[in-house]
Point group: C2
Chain length 196, copies 2
């Protein structure tokens, strides 16, 4: 009987495809075994457990996203760069919803530190070089951008904005406009008390 030639690499790749087709939550060791026409137990030589498989897919997605981000940022600065990175996230999520969901998997701290996640933070920070922000405002801004990108994309993907005017593409463009304006005009801290 011929061998299937399984590797962690191939499992991650096939798992990512499976996630895009049926949803990340439905990715299962059994389903992946079926896809390779192999018995379930065979996968356990390559993968510690179900969670390990999902982690593999998560890491793959983070890498792919970071690669796309780096490519998009090359040669751009300021609002151009901001819009480019924003679109990378949105487009990736729309093209690969399962992979995008995988990228949201909560990694344990060591895995997270070794992942491409750090490249994402670096890219966002790189964009801010085009704006006039110093620490700690820069970190606040990094977190804001991360929140907007992630929040918008996951709401849109989840259908939160569906069936209502104006269309989501317009909103997306206008949000990028707004973020650009905000970064160019970042407000100073206000007093702590009630602002009224």
């Amino acid at each position: 009987m011929a061998r299937a030639g399984l590797t962690r690499e191939r499992l991650a790749r096939a798992g990512a495809e499976l996630a895009d087709e049926v949803g990340f939550d439905e990715v299962t060791v059994s389903a992946l075994a079926r896809r390779f026409d192999v018995k379930v137990a065979s996968l356990y030589s390559h993968v510690r457990n179900s969670h390990d498989l999902k982690t593999l897919i998560c890491l793959l997605a983070l890498e792919e996203l970071a690669d796309r981000g780096a490519a998009a940022l090359a040669g751009r600065a300021g609002k151009d760069a901001l819009a480019a990175l924003a679109n990378v996230y949105r487009d990736y999520a729309r093209e690969h919803p399962g992979r995008y969901a995988a990228a949201q998997l909560r990694l344990d701290p060591e895995a997270a530190a070794a992942s491409a996640g750090v490249r994402h933070a670096q890219m966002t920070r790189a964009i801010l070089r085009g704006y006039d922000l110093t620490e700690p405002d820069q970190t606040h801004a990094v977190r804001l951008l991360g929140s907007v990108f992630h929040g918008y994309v996951s709401l849109e993907l989840g259908g939160g904005f569906s069936h209502s005017a104006p269309d989501t593409q317009t909103t997306w463009t206008r949000i990028v406009d707004a973020l650009d304006a905000l970064l160019r005009n970042w407000p100073a801290p206000t007093a702590q008390g009630p602002a009224h």
Copy 2:
């Protein structure tokens, strides 16, 4: 043998507690049956299936969140209202992570329309009455606020900002400041082409 007195209502409430304790993904018909000291099949008289149970918990969480939001908004306007609603989401997520995760469940359109989800959109829109925005910018702003609230809260909950200075409370305050400034200074649309 005494009856346990199960109702959809009580199942939703107990399911929500369970979600906060073990995580929404671990909420299972079996686990809930154990909690009521009842056989698994018994729950299926009250709940169509596992997904139905999760939907119940989701609806409960949306209600609770909307109630808190309404209470927080009463008597406030402008930035005060903005900060109040923002804190409702963040505090709820920190107090009840499982319920908050439940609230993100993707509902089918009819269920969504009948849920407290619509109250959430109304509350965000109410806040914008304190700012000078007209359609379609108001809708763009509603979506931006939703994205930031959801994105920030879920990233913070997922540990995305952990172990790094500055602390997340400061960032949260500064983000609310920034959103307030942005809403008071909402930019006009820019030309479509590259902005450089």
